[in-house]
């Protein structure tokens, strides 16, 4: 329950619907979030060795590194990982599908998403590392029929994280974020090869709160 009085107002001003519980023990901070923070942290930039290059001014409500408008960036872990059955050995033939679940209940309805970047890491296996012809990633709403794929993307190799932009595909632009996002993913080799094994899925969500930032479409004065 939110505390009474000024503390509740303060938490609301910070964007917290209720009292923060504290750091989850097993949650390391993703490197991309440290990178974005260091780039934004004015005082560190001003005082520390990582000064922003002279002449550049960090625009408010803009995420320079990602090149999109926004004043809130969230790194959302996949809730579906815990419920995913252990994958069969990477036998060739029918590769497994994975269901990923992202809890977006912390996103306020007023926030406007400007980027929703799915990031997938696959278990490094020599059998799949250098598959000739690469792979094809397909994304569909969980539980939808086979013809409901909303995004198909060629994946040349699995060594690096695989990134896919979901905004405009898995959910319409200029709409509020859903309370949760459930997707079915499949990764198929273009040439007969062993199947890949999904190690980690996450969502990097950038939103802009028009109550704290000028609306996206605001004409420059």
């Amino acid at each position: 329950p939110a505390p009474p009085g000024p503390a509740a107002a303060l938490l609301q001003a910070l964007g917290f619907p209720d009292v923060p519980r504290g750091a989850p023990k097993s949650r390391p901070v993703p490197p991309v979030m440290w990178r974005l923070f260091r780039r934004r942290d004015h005082q560190e930039a001003r005082a520390g060795p990582r000064r922003t290059p002279l002449g550049t001014t960090l625009r408010p409500c803009h995420v320079e590194e990602l090149g999109v408008a926004g004043n809130i960036v969230r790194h959302v872990p996949d809730r579906g990982a815990a419920a995913r059955p252990p994958e069969p050995a990477s036998a060739a033939g029918q590769c497994p599908e994975w269901t990923v679940v992202f809890d977006l209940s912390a996103v306020e309805p007023a926030e406007r998403p400007s980027q929703a970047r799915l990031e997938l890491r696959f278990a490094a296996a020599e059998a799949t590392a250098g598959t000739a012809g690469g792979w094809e990633l397909s994304v569909a709403p969980a539980g939808a029929g086979p013809g409901q794929v909303v995004l198909r993307q060629a994946v040349p190799a699995l060594g690096m994280p695989v990134r896919a932009e979901l905004l405009g595909a898995a959910w319409a632009r200029n709409t509020s974020a859903p309370r949760s996002l459930r997707l079915t993913l499949a990764l198929r080799p273009r040439a007969p090869a062993a199947c890949a094994s999904l190690a980690e899925a996450s969502l990097l969500l950038v939103t802009l709160d028009p109550r704290l930032c000028h609306p996206l479409a605001r004409p420059r004065r």
């Binding site: 923060p20 750091a23 901070v29 440290w34 969230r74 209940s105």
Partner: protein
Amino acid sequence: EAEPAGGGGPGGACRARRLYVSFREVGWHRWVIAPRGFLANYCQGKCGLPAALSEPGGTPALNHAVLRALMHAAAPSAAAGLPCCVPARLSPISVLFFDNSDNVVLRHYEDMVVDECGCR
């Protein structure tokens, strides 16, 4: 941690004074990842003449605050009183924290640091 108000209490000309906000002091260190705190600063000091004339980094200009300081100099008992010492330039900070859904969040807060003060 606030700089002791220099110049004998809240005296002295209007200027930015050091104020460091430690998230540990306010009990937020368990969910704020970075920074550990930040220099918020605050404005304090008198806005009589000639302080009201000296805009930070600018040439003295006649403005509403100067007129009020002049009025106050001429008639100290006038109701209008002295102009106020308030932030003239602010800058934002960004905070990296965990929310209650175990997301790692980077949030940008405008107008959190007082860089300069002025009489208004």
